[in-house]
């Protein structure tokens, strides 16, 4: 459980970046945070994981107020995959990179081996365990960053543009991990510019514009009202745009669109 209550933040006192931010996220939610470049999305993630402190208001992560909890303790409750994964890596091989967080939880010996192995397999990295993370391509670096977070099994995951630059196989793997984490009762918050990805996998959309939340709705409701997407400066997912052009009910995925089309064609 994550709750954000009346949070305001600015990097200096004169320029507010975020104001009046409030929302809660329940276990199993997959929440997409959307908005223009510079709207404050990544800043919001840094407030949630305790790297920044709000100027006012309160954030509680899994029972811990970020104001009173050191970042390394908070990391057990909330794991972050940053936009540039290379900025969060500091070990000379993939195995050590992934083991680092799990070691901080006190895992050693067989338990550690098992946890790392399981995570390597899940993220498709089992054949590169001895490779330096920075010798991997960008997509696999992203999975190393994700794996190092997953190995800690935090109840809340923050993913900043996780789908960026991934090919088909990698996107499918990422989506299956997101779905699996949500099904296991963990919460996933992702910042994302790819609205097709959001439409397929998010259960809820929070739109940020000029530092404020301008919409917080279930995904279908958000995209069903084009005025909301317009206010947030995001585009409609392709299948939503196509359904609108053809006067069909909004469809978040290609199969949903096909079902709506076949039904309308039959009537």
């Amino acid at each position: 459980m994550l709750s954000v209550d009346s949070v305001a933040f600015g990097y200096d006192e004169r320029t507010p970046v975020l104001a009046d931010i409030g929302f809660t996220v329940a276990p199993g939610d997959v929440v997409a945070i959307v908005g223009r470049n510079g709207a404050g999305k990544s800043t919001l993630l840094r407030l949630l994981n305790g790297l920044l402190q709000p100027r006012s208001g309160r954030i509680v992560i899994d029972g811990c107020a970020t104001a009173d909890t050191p970042v390394h303790v908070l990391a057990r409750h909330i794991g972050t995959v940053f936009q540039a994964p290379e900025q969060q890596m500091f070990h000379a091989n993939v195995w050590d990179e992934i083991a680092f967080g799990a070691r901080q939880l006190g895992l050693t010996g067989d338990a550690l081996e098992e946890r790392v192995h399981e995570t390597l397999v899940r993220t498709g990295l089992e054949d590169v365990t001895h490779v330096h993370p920075l010798d991997l391509d960008q997509a696999r670096r992203r999975f190393v960053a994700l794996a190092s977070v997953l190995a800690m099994r935090p109840p809340i995951l923050l993913l900043d543009e996780p789908q960026r630059g991934l090919d088909r196989a990698a996107v499918e793997r990422l989506e299956s991990i997101v779905v699996e984490q949500a099904a296991a009762g963990r919460s996933v918050l992702l910042v994302c510019h790819d609205m097709d990805f959001v439409a397929r996998r998010a259960t809820r959309v929070i739109a940020v514009a000029r530092g404020r939340i301008v919409a917080d709705h279930p995904t279908l409701d958000f995209f069903g009202d084009p005025a909301l997407a317009h206010a947030a400066g995001v585009e409609l997912p392709d299948t939503i745009a196509l359904a609108r052009a053809l006067d069909l009910p909004p469809a978040l995925t290609p199969p949903a669109f096909a079902a709506a089309w076949m039904e309308s064609a039959a009537s």
Binding site: D137, D167, G233, F257
Partner: protein
């Protein structure tokens, strides 16, 4: 003679079993707008660096073949000549910043100043880059405090300020929100038609907006070369990069028996909207 010639290029990273570039031959004409598509880890970035002349270098040399611009292989160019001829913008914008500019303006002026241009020319180039990359409102900001998308626009602006004849962009729009992306693509289209633009992409949408020629890079070689309707529907391209959502939607309709035989699947929303409207009219007749 093509502007850029890549001739049977073979390159292997030290200790790698297989070459990542395994005989790439490619001719690029002046003013072409090209998208090179390929899966993660296929070697796109390596190819991009060879085409932009950043490779070969002291430590990494091709086993065979070379890349030439105007008939002259890259190693024969001086850095000053090359930087005015071709600019490369990589995937991680923060790594592209000079690190010695305290404002967006100074970052954009850094390259032109290094060409020892008169001040008026430097200012004119900075002004143009500010417009094209939508950076005017950020002109006084410290580059390292910008968001990921803003840094990406800045690194592209800094490349354009060098007035290159060839722009090589490695996933140029991945960090941009849709408005910035559309504005950027529009501005890129408005640049002189003589500017050659080569983008390396895994994303289909920006590729379709930017390019008229598509190359599929797979197994270290160019395996398909043609227009969007040829390359994006190639099964190898679909296997590596997937399909657009509307192509998948039309594919689902076809699987359910609702798509006329012989009608190609649409790739974009406007194409799909026309195609579905046509199917609907045919059903009503």
């Amino acid at each position: 003679m093509a502007l850029i010639d890549c001739d049977d290029l073979v390159f292997r990273y030290p200790y790698a079993e297989r070459p990542v570039l395994d005989g790439v031959s490619l001719a690029i004409g002046a003013g072409e707008r090209i998208a090179v598509l390929g899966a993660n880890g296929s070697g796109k970035t390596t190819l991009a660096r060879f085409i932009a002349g950043l490779l070969p270098d002291v430590a990494m040399k091709a086993e065979r073949g070379s890349v030439s611009m105007e008939g002259r292989p890259w190693p024969a160019w001086t850095i000053a000549e090359r930087s005015a001829a071709v600019q490369f913008v990589g995937q991680v914008p923060a790594q592209q910043l000079s690190g010695c500019a305290f404002t967006v303006y100074d970052e954009l002026a850094f390259g032109p100043c290094n060409l020892a241009l008169p001040e008026a020319d430097v200012r004119a180039r900075v002004e143009e880059a500010l417009t094209i990359c939508n950076l005017r409102h950020l002109v006084e900001r410290d580059p390292f405090t910008l968001s990921g998308g803003e840094q990406q626009r800045l690194s592209i602006g800094a490349a354009l300020a060098m007035k290159p004849r060839v722009l090589v962009l490695d996933e140029p729009t991945s960090n941009l929100d849709p408005e910035s992306r559309d504005a950027f693509i529009e501005q890129l289209a408005a640049l002189p038609a003589s500017l050659t633009v080569i983008v390396f992409e895994v994303a289909l949408r920006p590729s379709m907006a930017l390019a008229s020629r598509f190359l599929l890079f797979d197994g270290g070689r160019i395996v398909a070369d043609g227009g969007a309707s040829d390359v994006l529907t190639d099964p190898r391209c679909i296997a590596a990069l997937g399909e657009t959502s509307v192509a998948r939607a039309a594919g689902s309709v076809r699987a359910a028996g609702g798509w006329p035989a012989g009608t190609p699947l649409p790739l974009t929303v406007p194409e799909a909207s026309d195609a579905f409207a046509e199917v609907r009219r045919a059903l009503r007749r």
